[in-house]
Amino acid sequence: MWEGVRRNNLAGTLSVVGGLLLWEIISRFLVANALFLAAPSQIVNAIYELTLSGEMERHVAISAAEFAIGYVIASVLGIAIGFGMANSPSFKQAMQPWISGLYATPTIALAPLFILWLGIGIWSKVLVVIFLVLFPVTINTEAGLRTTSERLIEMLRSFGATQQQIFFKVSLPSALPFILAGLKLGIGRGLIGVVVAELFGSRAGLGRLISQSADAFNMPELFAGVIVLAVAGIAMTAAFTSIERRLVPWTRD
């Protein structure tokens, strides 16, 4: 098994290093135009410069705040609505059309409207993040609780368990992997929400950095913004996977 992991990592590393090398070569010698493409070395340099000037910190702080506030609100709300839907058929009936409808709608297109309502500060972005994260969390929570094995519930019932005991000892733990999967899905969607909403109008944030760099044809800084976002996404997803592994080890296989 360890052999396999090592080989995978080796292949992965080689592929990333090779890709970066190819990118460097293409941008330096084939495209050779700073208006279209920045080489990895230039991007690293741009990130370094932006960090030194404190510019990067300002953008990251704003985007991080928007993401964190929206993500936490959406998670709490999503889990609560999911619980409600799983426990009350009429609440589910009332919510279902909205949930399905809004989940399928590209709500990100509503970002300009939210900016109109809430201004170009962080709250319009927070709202976009909430809209994007809420639905996968809600849907997964509800599905996780709904698909709790009838047999396990019956087993607990045979010992005279109360509804509350059944919920905490069976339904909740068995829904946990689903809830975590929903939250994980929300990370990527939330990040997209932050950046796209910032593109529509903002004073600061990584989306703002990207759009102002694009306006100035500053490719290294544009890519710097994109790379920081990508790294944040990868890091958060990886951290989440390790949390998952510790919280729900029985789903590992």
């Binding site: 607990l156 019932r157 045979s158 010992f159 000892k169 069976v170 733990p173 729900v248 029985w250």
Partner: protein
Amino acid sequence: MTRKVEVTGLNKWFGDLEALRGIALEVERGEFISVVGPSGCGKTTFLRIVAGLEPASSGTVIIDGRVVTKPGNDRGFVFQTDNLLPWRTVLSNAMIGPEVGGRTGPEEKRRTLDLLKLVGLDGFENYYPRQLSGGMRQRVNLARALAIDPEVLLMDEPFASLDAQTREIMQTELLRIWEQGRKTVLFVTHQIDEAVFLSDRVLVFARRPGRLQECVEIKLPRPRSLGIKRTPEFVAYVDHIWRLIEDDVRTAVIHEHV
């Protein structure tokens, strides 16, 4: 001998389907009773009603003088599928009954550990269900039911999902465990030889509607070992019961395939 379980005039309807008709039965303390019959004869429904998992349409089940209305700590149910919680260790799974009853002290833990030893899972208490074989999981299933120290043990085809060899081993293990505590046992199975091997009495159910066809007393000496299955007396019992349900099984098979 004292009467442990008393069933009178038990009927069960599922909508228009008459699942059980007029079941009457008396079980003495420490008796091992099996219920056999073709699929659809209501034997599992019968067991579930005794467990309190299913209400009867009419009639009563009385255990130790109390009418059964819901599941309770006086009955331990061993399920056909092990129904172990995958996020709990063997010990924690086995202790779920006492835990539901609000008893989780060191005394309960020690007793459960003893039970795990009794069912042959010594040293496996910290394993997770996914690390166990089917036979081991059924042992946890059994220990879990015993952990509430029930008056009556209800077993619903607990060995049905095991392979033939494991099943035979589990049968002798069950008898060994039963000899030590002499719980009253109601054991549902579709294996006639299993029923004869384990039981003091075998209840033969017929189908459509499910009803008690005959009660066969098994007068084989105890303790029994697997070798007894080759004696003429044993074979005669199996033969007799098989002839009772043969026609019913045939119709059941035809109905299930149409």
